[in-house]
Amino acid sequence: MTFLNVVVRGLLRRPVRTGLTLVGISIGIAAVVALVGLASGYEKSMGKHLDVLGIDIVVSNIRGGFLPKAFDASLQPRVAKLQRVAETTSVLMEMQSVEDVPMMMVSGREWGGFTWANLSVVSGRMPRDGKERAVVLGRMAAEVLKKKVGDTVQIDAEELPVVGIVDGHAVIENGAVMLSLQVLQEVTGNEGKINFIDLRLVPNTSKEDVNKLCAQIKEIFPEGRAMVASEVVSTSQGFRIAQAMSWSTSFLAITVGILGVMNTMLMTVFERTHEIGILLAVGWKRSRIVFMVLCESALLGLLGGIVGVALGVMGIWLLEQTTAVRSLLEPNLSLNLMAVSVAIAVVVGVISGVYPGWRSSRLSPTIALSAQ
């Protein structure tokens, strides 16, 4: 018999209670895995989207909600004139409820700009020109909206025909409704407004020049900002909110988990007062008893963590099957996140064992022995 056997035996003493506690922690950990996985999936999908389009710098307003506030399109030629800027294109992006789908990216792109270049037609065709009142759908968007070429899609008050279905090589692109900037401005009553200017730089621009360029943009557009593509997502308000929400919900779930384990371990210690008295009488050091309690709660955490990660992965898989999530992001389940989640669970276990362990170490052997 090893010390681990003693620890396991302690947990198996009340299998139902141990099992229920395990369920409690695993739900907490599953929440961490699912929520953080979704948030980081959003970040990754966004990053991939910018990458696929070949965008180096994004100019937008600082203020705004999930998407930054719109600004005047006249800014674009001024930015285009700056040094090291190779190409610019304007975008008006809206997050809208489109027909039955609660949240969908509607992307109005400057006709002829490089953001159109990367799309490959799967069926139908591209809009003929920037004035044609028509949309193309990303592959996923078409699937989610259940639309094919020839159907119409309602954007604001207007029914626009679907002329093509395209593959954009990134989840965000494939999940979007795309149309000419001018058309979207007219349809939504945002004439002359855009909320992004996407920049491509001259190849091999040094970091220093990039910083200089960003500063210059800031000068001509004081209420806006220029961000290197890799930073866009992590600094976006919407992403930060999503991230904060996922972590704070996780924090709550973990707190509930800690209380559950602590309650179980306290019960165990109270219930086993007599047995702890026996251990003291046969010469166990108090530190060994504390260690036993801590090991039990850490083991509970470890098992809860493993089950929780499995549940979280399943939960994400289920979420992925829902249309709302599917068109917006690819959940990101890194091994790192799973390992961190299991580690959190073990730490939760150890923390929960500290007070019960301390209680058990303060028992007087004679009083503990006489307890029944």
Binding site: M1, T2, F3, N5, V6, R9, G10, L12, R13, H274, E275, G277, I278, L279, L280, A281, V282, G283, W284, K285, R286, R288, S364, P365, T366, L369
Partner: protein
């Protein structure tokens, strides 16, 4: 006749001087000044009515509790001031209780191994020693039984095996036959006498059963927290062993 000091090797194992123990802030006086010497190899039975303080005395000897005043030493060292009371309980003494105090979720062999976690034996050595001890208690066929599957006498034999796990030099027994039928009680007493005779251990046995007390080499009577008489029986350790053989 022997004088108490001549029994055993003569080395003093326990010495109590004016030993007092109060409970509930002095309201209950369990021991009211006990003076006692116990020498190596002695088999001392402590008798007296319930509440006379005999179990309290045993708890103090085993460092399970601390005296309120007076001195109590083990081989010259103050028991309440031991730097590591756990090590003392683990390696120097073994406890045998009236209600066995076995861990219900562990088998007989596992119960005997529990104290050995504080020792230096390997996992295999622990197991081997536990099996050996249980076999010597006549429980070779009960190794993997849980306490609930054992009779009272068998449980007490497991407890005795456990008390011997780390090779103590003193055994402290608190009414070891109190929960047993007369036949099992007889067997347990014989086992204890045999251990005393064979291993030369020092025994302190608390009981209120005079027939059991008679078999010790020395009988200390207590009443109201004081020692009222201290007599050698006409039986020596050797004599006691001869009784059973």
């Amino acid at each position: 006749m022997f004088e108490p000091t001549q029994i055993g090797s003569g080395k003093v194992v326990f010495e109590a001087v004016a030993l007092k123990k109060h409970f509930d802030d002095g309201k209950v006086a369990a021991l009211q000044g006990v003076d006692l010497q116990i020498r190596q190899g002695e088999f001392v039975s402590v008798i007296g009515p319930s509440g006379c303080g005999k179990s309290t005395l045993l708890a103090l000897l085993g460092s399970l509790d601390k005296p309120s005043s007076g001195t109590l030493t083990y081989r010259g060292q103050s028991i309440p001031d031991l730097p590591d009371p756990a090590a003392y309980r683990c390696h120097e003494i073994g406890f045998i209780f009236q209600s066995f105090h076995l861990l219900p979720t562990f088998t007989a062999a596992e119960n005997v191994q529990i104290p050995m976690f504080e020792g230096k034996l390997s996992r295999a050595q622990r197991k081997e020693r536990a099996v050996e001890l249980l076999k010597s208690m006549g429980l070779g066929h009960r190794l993997n039984h849980f306490p609930s599957q054992l009779s009272g006498g068998e449980r007490q034999r497991v407890a005795i095996a456990r008390s011997l796990a780390n090779g103590p030099s003193v055994l402290l027994a608190d009414e070891p036959t109190g929960n047993l039928d007369s036949k099992s009680a007889q067997q347990i007493m014989e086992l204890i006498l045999q251990l005393h005779g064979e291993m030369g251990m020092t025994f302190v046995l608390v009981t209120h059963d005079l027939t059991i007390a008679e078999r010790a080499t020395r009988t200390v009577s207590m009443r109201d927290g004081r020692v009222t008489s201290d007599q050698l029986s006409n039986r020596t350790a050797i004599g006691a062993l001869n009784d059973i053989s």
